[in-house]
């Protein structure tokens, strides 16, 4: 069913649904994500929809350096995202914890807990950079297909929060 596979690849690239998760951010990057949905930058031209539930989304956008209290939540939300999925680290905080590098309340960059596919640097990144990151993640998703990402982090077994 080669035609179906190609159709599925195209559909995954053209319909990236996001779920946005804040793991302790200052909200600068969150505001730029909302600005990316505004008329000037309009992420919807790529088919992007900001969804209300992680179960609906393909791409998890994480902002903020991962605080110790947010680690469990980030992992749970990542497990709730289904099927072929991708993770975008928006801003320099989830990539490298930025200025909070010596903080006692953080638990490492996002790489330590989740396999990150795209890093969008900036403090905060411009909305067009965020949209470019989403487009890149959608391409990665389309090529990834049904194979889960290779990771050396022990992802917790998929405990269903709600059955």
């Amino acid at each position: 069913m080669k035609l179906w596979k190609r159709l599925m690849c195209t559909a995954r690239r053209r319909s990236p649904w996001l779920f946005h998760m804040n793991s302790g951010s200052c909200n600068g990057c969150d505001i730029e994500i909302v600005a990316a949905l505004s008329p000037r930058y309009d992420a919807e031209q790529l088919g992007v929809r900001l969804e209300g539930s992680p179960r609906h989304a393909d791409i998890l956008c994480v902002t903020g350096p991962v605080t110790r209290k947010a680690v469990g939540a980030v992992k749970t939300v990542y497990d709730q995202v289904l099927g072929p999925k991708a993770v975008i680290a928006i801003g320099s905080c989830p990539a490298t914890t930025n200025v909070f590098i010596d903080s006692r309340t953080l638990d490492g960059p996002l790489d330590k807990h989740l396999p990150v596919d795209v890093f969008v640097p900036g403090c905060p990144p411009r909305p067009d950079a965020i949209i470019a990151g989403v487009a890149k993640a959608a391409e990665i998703l389309a090529e990834r297909g049904n194979n889960p990402p290779q990771t050396n982090v022990a992802i917790a077994a998929a405990e269903e929060v709600q059955q």
Partner: protein, 304 residues
């Protein structure tokens, strides 16, 4: 009506083969026109189709027990009810008359929202429960107006048969009923200003919170089919009676398209109303209006 014609009506036009692409088309029209009215460029043309295909390719969380079985069943019931409602619409001038009547059409139009309510409760997530409770309150409010409007149209024509209703001469009461149906359609289709069950900032995804993958694709499809059925109902009541099959089909599609544009303009212009304002709107303003319509219908009937 022979079996072949009935199957053609149910499966080809205005049944499944027409309804599913029309559902995607109307979903796109709504998103694109709302976007253009907000100075955005909006999604490309094939977007709802790609959303559907992508959702079919995602995995579903494992579900066990009776609740799991029910959760899998509700979207399928919703899709089949909405598709059946579209197939039942009296679009074409019938040769022999389809024997289904208005009550069946109303029941099929009701089922998707009942399925949404049941799905939210059977997902056993708190967001689903709150969303379903809101959907139930909304449903109770607008359904009374909706049913009264349709019943008044039927009462004025002394019949419940669909083809007779579609080809009946139009009276002022007829238009009053159509206006009442148009007022109820935003609530039925969950668009602004009555989009309460879809309040993402408050209740995540509402009744759909735990759904994913192909089940979510079915929910989106049933939403699109509800659009076709709702706007198609208005189109069949508004459309003039023509004898040619092709002309009737084109008029149906054109009037449905116009209703979709009207509803999208309404959705772009308004914000979401809270539950108390919504319920108050339907119970106070439009209920009075619908009661007047029914009583004048009965009055005209008993007078004649």
């Amino acid at each position: 009506m022979t079996l072949l014609t009935a199957l053609a009506r149910l499966l080809i036009f205005p049944g499944l083969l027409f309804a599913v692409p029309a559902a995607w088309f109307f979903l796109w029209v709504e998103r694109k026109s709302v976007a253009l009215m907000q100075e955005r460029v909006g999604p490309p043309f094939m977007q709802p189709f790609f959303d559907f295909v992508k959702l079919l390719g995602k995995s579903t969380p494992p579900r066990s027990g009776i609740a799991g079985l029910l959760m899998r069943a509700w979207p399928l019931i919703a899709v089949s009810a909405a598709a059946g409602a579209v197939g039942l619409l009296p679009v074409l001038p019938s040769s022999g008359g389809f024997e289904g009547d208005l009550i069946l059409l109303l029941a099929l139009l009701e089922l998707p929202s009942i399925c949404i309510i049941a799905a939210g409760f059977s997902s056993r997530s708190i967001f689903g429960e709150i969303g379903s409770a809101r959907e139930a309150a909304l449903s109770v409010s607008y359904n009374i107006v909706f049913l009264l409007a349709i019943v008044s149209i039927a009462a004025s024509q002394h019949t419940f048969r669909l083809d007779a209703l579609a080809s009946a001469p139009s009276t002022p009461l007829h238009w009053l009923g159509i206006l009442a149906i148009l007022v109820c359609l935003p609530a039925k289709l969950h668009i602004n200003p009555f989009s309460l069950p879809n309040a993402e900032q408050e209740i995540y995804a509402g009744p759909m919170t735990e759904y994913a993958g192909p089940e979510l694709a079915m929910w989106e499809l049933s939403h699109g089919l509800e659009w076709v059925a709702g706007t198609g109902l208005v189109a069949t009541l508004v459309a003039p009676h023509v004898s040619s099959v092709w002309l009737a089909a084109m008029i149906f599609v054109a009037i449905s398209f116009a209703v979709v544009l009207l509803l999208s303009a309404l959705a772009a212009a308004t914000a979401r109303l809270a539950i108390d304002t919504t319920v108050r709107f339907y119970w106070q303003c439009t209920l009075i209006f619908a009661v007047l319509a029914v009583s004048s219908a009965l009055f005209m009937r008993f007078r004649s």
